[in-house]
Amino acid sequence: MLENLSIAFELFFSLENILVIGIGVLIGTIIGAIPGMTTPMGVALALPFTFTMQPVTGILLLLGVYKGGLYGGSLTAILIKTPGTPAASCTILDGYPLAQKGQARKALDIALYASCVADLISNIALIMFAGFLATFALRFGPPEFFTLIVFSLTIIAGVAGPSLTKGILSACLGLLLATVGLDLIYGTNRFIFGNFELMSGLNFIPVLIGLFAIPEILDRATRRPRPPGSQRQELGGGASFAEFRKTLKSVVRGSFIGVILGAIPGIGGAPAAFLSYSEARRNSKHPENFGKGEPEGVAAAEAGNNGVAGATMIPLLALGVPGDVITAVILGAFMIHGLRPGPILFAENLPMIYALFMGILLSSAYLFVVGKVAIKTFSRVALIPNRILYPIVFTLCVYGAYAVNNNLFDILVMLCMGLVGFTMLRLEVPVAPFLIAFVLGPLLEDNFRQSLLLSDGNLSIFVRNAICWLFWLLTALSIFVLIRSRIRASRTGEASVLTTGG
């Protein structure tokens, strides 16, 4: 243990690593603050810049962007009623009214303190549970992994949008696309149609950039630019520690809600923020103040939102299964460096995991510093108009897609995936299940075929023990719950809180 820690310390302790986390948080905060740029888009655009870095450095940069992005969304939510990220839409409820009362600085401070505390709690949860879960997952063989991935994909498909069926169709499309290339066992061609560029399959990064950045740009071409909410000039005084302490109970509750929802694949920040907010209102002595500028509302929303950041890394690091698009990108970053998160990584490369943990803990401190600076300086960044922003984003996409393999074909893949993503956007089919299924597709198929090889083609191997049964039961249960809530939504006409984003 001590030996591993000292190797990890050597791996982590370099000026480059320490700087890169701060840069990541800074970039993330700016991207999060810009309406129209989402955190996944930011992480995707940052990915090509990490190719030449050491694995730990590159992954820490992406984690910094992730954490900064989650917080950055609240800046513009509070100041101009325009959430930088979907999860920040909950912060508007009380943050914007506070700003309108001339107390913007107080709202921003409370949002920052709540984010930092939640981030720290979430990081500690990651450190405590990831290793434990990984040790448990060492017992997993191919059938267990197969059922685990089926379960994860079902949840992701179910909560990514209002309709389970559309989510599953999206995931199936991702699985189908993942089969392009050489067959894993026999080495024969699949869907190559004579194009040798397709032999190694479609690269993950052009697919990701195409799905997440291009459709936004195409969609904006048809939309009227919306005027933001009015911004009051006076920001008022900051929040005192006593004021923050009053909200601490909601912050801790929200952080735990974030941790639990974050650890379940697919749920993400927005539902955690809304659930944390509604719990804070339910437990408040003055629920009538919520929505009118209650600092506790801001704190609860931000705590829920940032509480997921460390927890989403638990299934990724321990099981190798990403819970959302951002962790899927981080999985991609691992794979680029020839690493595969999961129990084996814990067994064989523990110092690297510890080094990542050190960096993750440092990111909470950076969040505080960058947040303090951000409040003073770059609330204006958000005012970059989309007509300038989107051409810049597109250029970054082109350079990023090319840099993966030094191949122009990847730019074509990106554009085609952009069209697919745009069609899905128009048909309101969620793209997150598509991407995550695309990343997990080879792993799912590989585990399926390995299981059958082990059992000589006997399908009963997929119910060989209690773990398999547990995952099948959880899958069936989640399908049942999702279908029931869909039928209910049809009756009442309202979508449930778990399907409003994330």
């Binding site: 309709s163 499309l173 970054l396 745009f422």
Partner: protein, 171 residues
């Protein structure tokens, strides 16, 4: 019929057609199978076929869902009327999208001869104009500097030389 219902029925129909096409055309034409596969579930076409069947099954479920159930409203478009006015005042939305898609693919074919940097400069400039930016002191410096700075970054920091096409000989 409500537009959301029509949209979901369209999505269901498109996925159903995709599933049938994959099973009937793409898999037979695109998947090479070795002759001697002992366990049929291990053959290269088994997994894509299972996915295609799942697509067809779930697409039928989506069709039934859209036909029989109401679509829950997430965010009602706040001011659809103003949006419609905007679309009338500028180029109609669909036409603008088609123009943009066409321009992006044209950009890809330009890349092969003009290289990444020059094509990006032209594209950024035209995109900013297309999206409605008119201030030249934003348009010119950004569209010139960004592609060049990115080129230099990727060349010197990441060690990736972006293709310069016909401009390669000028350097």
């Amino acid at each position: 019929m409500e537009p959301t219902k029509r949209r979901d029925l369209l999505a269901g129909a498109m996925f159903l057609i995709l599933g049938i096409l994959t099973l009937a055309v793409l898999i037979p034409a695109g998947v090479d199978s070795p002759g001697n596969v002992e366990i049929s579930a291990l053959s290269p076409e088994f997994w894509p076929s299972v996915i295609a069947l799942a697509v067809m099954f779930v697409a039928v479920c989506l069709l039934a869902e859209s036909y029989f159930l109401k679509v829950p409203e997430l965010d009602a478009e706040e001011d659809a009327e103003e949006d419609a006015m905007y679309k009338l005042e500028t180029l109609p939305g669909t036409l603008r999208t088609v123009v943009l898609i066409f321009a992006l693919f044209l950009f890809y074919f330009a890349l092969t001869s003009l290289g990444v940097v020059a094509s990006s400069i032209v594209l950024m400039l035209s995109m900013m104009l297309f999206f409605g930016e008119r201030k030249w002191y934003f348009i010119v410096p950004i569209s010139l500097l960004l592609p060049i700075l990115l080129y230099l970054f990727f060349l010197h920091v990441a060690g990736v030389p972006m293709p310069l096409g016909i401009f390669e000989t000028l350097l």
